[in-house]
Amino acid sequence: MPRVYVSSVIDAPAERVWAEIRDFNALPRWVPAVAESRIEGNAPGDQVGCVRAFTLKDGGALREKLLALSDFDYAVSYSILESPMGVSNYVATLRLAPVTDGERCFAEWTAEFECEPARAEDLVERIGRGVFQPAFDELKKKFGRR
């Protein structure tokens, strides 16, 4: 099963970064690839089970379901319901962990999915380098030291 793993260290306490990203509807604020987003059925963005429908700047449209949200572990898991990427059983987890010897946190984003074997490498690259890493770069910019 193809697996994406991207991680980084952000120069802000985990609770501040978490406040920025925990809202399941907040992707346009910090994921550069995302153009706009809404939660279906007008549900709140922290209701486990809710579905976000969002569009990418390249025009693609996706629907993702919130599977787990932990304010204790600073972790969010979600699955893809529909996407133009040709993946199935896609589950991703984004998690923060405090770095206790400084005002920093460690962020990691993993995704696992199934696809045609020939496309796996390209998809891992596109998701990791094209979506997750730019999002971390955006957070690092937002919370970067002045």
Binding site: Y5, V6, S7, S8, V9, A97, P98, V99, T100, D101, G102, R104, F106, E108, G128, Q133, F136, D137
Partner: protein, 491 residues
């Protein structure tokens, strides 16, 4: 149950940190006192179920996950009330750089009134100290890509075989026949480039030991004339031979091992007998402390594990090894008794932690021992005297006691009937240091314990300094009992 979570970021690839961390015995310090523990009972490093021991601490590896880069340990023995202590360590790769995220979770139960104190101690003295240790090792490994105490990392790197071309001339001391101090002659010689497995060392301090006298007189068959005496020295690496990894030119190193030949400005030494000297310990202290300090280390931690409250009898308590045994046993919480020959030496022993100095000539100490222990006897007796004191040392033992006969200044032990041991269920050991230090991993663990103890105040610096060319005078002073504590020769 309290849980402590601490984490840090290291500027090194996950693989490098994991190699250090998974090396259970040598990686992260056991809590508080000792920088590095010793592995127990022949288990390999990184084998699940292995225990490491440092002083009164015993920690067991109960989970190791190579895929997840995590491990879990528990404390089996601890001098602190850390009940059900389990710690989990987890490494994570930082993919947008070269770093590694390291998280350490420890949980334990304790008495409520001690909780805050113990949480702070575990956080600072265990976890923060562990982070600092590995951070320093990672920095070292990356700076030199060689680290002798972590063989796996060292061996994974390419051998470093830089050579000074050609022989180097040096002054040295030669013995052309066995005899008195006058047979120690100053000479010049060329030291060839190091052979395979060897390191050429420019020595800055040479330890003076009584064994050097035995080598000179021929009492020990370690030196066949013509030859150069000396078992112990510190200095700087000049160059290394084929197959040597873990040492670079300029590294400060120390050794205490046969073969003889240390009385020289430059010499070749087997890499396996060398240990890197940590910052904060000078060459002279390292040279003076290595042989005697490793002796104290293995006698107190390996041959017998001295625990708090043990009654320990040290013969020749004001001697080189004796003063270290007294200090270190005291630090471990033992009640220390010691025999010495004069009131001055009694004072010196007392200053070094001996609770009950007993003035005797290696005999007639039984009654004072019985008096001091209220008739109970001693849990362990460290006897370097040998033949003259053997039976009385045995009598001084408590039931289940351990007689450790580690030297024979008065002659080899006379034949005796092992059945006498059954009178007390006593144990007898006749250990030899070099059997313990023959394994480089063990040697480096022992040296790390010694250096940590020196860092915590174990007094091991030399009290006399001689020029190497004055070796004959140094021997006269040593044999004439005019030296106190350790001495070094300086090339």
């Amino acid at each position: 149950m309290v849980e402590i979570v601490r984490s840090t970021v290291l500027d090194a690839p996950l693989e490098a940190v994991w190699q250090l961390l998974r090396d259970f015995a040598t990686a992260v310090p056991i809590p508080v006192a000792d920088a590095v523990g010793a592995l127990e009972g022949g288990k390999d490093a990184a084998s699940v179920g292995a225990s490491r021991i440092a002083g009164p601490w015993r920690e067991r590896l109960i989970e190791l996950d190579e895929r997840n880069h995590s491990l879990r340990t528990c404390l089996v023995d601890s001098p602190l009330p850390l009940y059900g202590y389990v710690a989990r360590q987890q490494l994570r790769r930082i993919t947008d750089g070269e770093g590694t995220f390291w998280q350490w979770r420890a949980s334990f139960a304790t008495d409520p009134y001690r909780e805050a104190d113990l949480v702070a101690r575990v956080a600072d003295e265990v976890i923060a100290a562990g982070f600092a240790t590995i951070r320093a090792r990672v920095a070292r490994t990356r700076a030199s890509s060689s680290l002798p105490s972590v063989s796996r990392v060292a061996r994974a790197s390419a051998p470093v075989a830089r050579r000074e071309e050609g022989p180097i001339e040096t002054s040295l001391v030669m013995v052309s026949r066995h005899g008195g101090p006058e047979v120690l002659e100053n000479a010049q010689a060329n030291v060839l480039p190091p052979g395979p497995g060897q390191v050429r060392v420019r020595q800055t301090a040479i330890g003076l030991n009584y064994i050097d006298v035995y080598c000179r007189t021929g009492a020990y068959p370690l030196l066949t004339p013509p030859g150069t005496p000396g078992m112990e020295a510190a200095g700087q690496v000049i160059d290394v031979g084929d197959g040597v990894v873990g040492f670079l030119p300029g590294d400060r190193v120390v050794y205490a091992a046969p073969p003889v030949g240390a009385y020289a400005g430059v010499r070749n030494v087997t890499a396996d007998s060398l240990v890197i000297i940590p910052d904060g310990i000078d060459d002279e202290t390292a040279a003076a402390a290595m042989l005697k300090g490793l002796s104290a280390e293995y006698l107190l931690n390996r041959v017998h594990r001295v625990r708090a409250g043990d009654r320990v009898l040290v013969h020749s308590a004001a001697g080189g090894v004796g003063l270290l045994l007294c200090q270190w046993a005291k630090k471990l919480g033992a009640v220390v008794l010691g025999t010495v020959s004069t009131p001055d030496k009694a004072r010196l022993a007392r200053e070094h932690g001996c609770d009950y100095p007993i003035i005797s000539r290696g005999t007639d100490f039984l009654k004072p021992v019985q008096d001091a222990t209220k008739g109970k006897g001693c849990d362990v007796v460290y006897d370097g005297i040998g033949r003259a004191s053997f039976l009385e040392s045995f009598e001084a033992l408590a039931p289940l006691g351990h007689l450790v006969s580690y030297g024979q200044a008065s002659g080899a032990l006379a034949p005796f009937d092992p059945a006498i041991l059954s009178r007390k269920s006593a144990s007898l050991s006749r250990p030899v240091l070099f059997h313990y230090t023959a394994n480089p991993e063990t040697l480096r663990a022992m040296a790390a314990n010694l250096f940590a103890a020196i860092g915590e105040g174990l007094r091991a610096s030399p009290r006399q300094r001689y020029k190497l060319s004055d070796a004959a005078r140094a021997h006269r002073d040593l044999e004439g009992r005019r030296t106190v504590g350790a001495s070094v020769l300086v090339p």
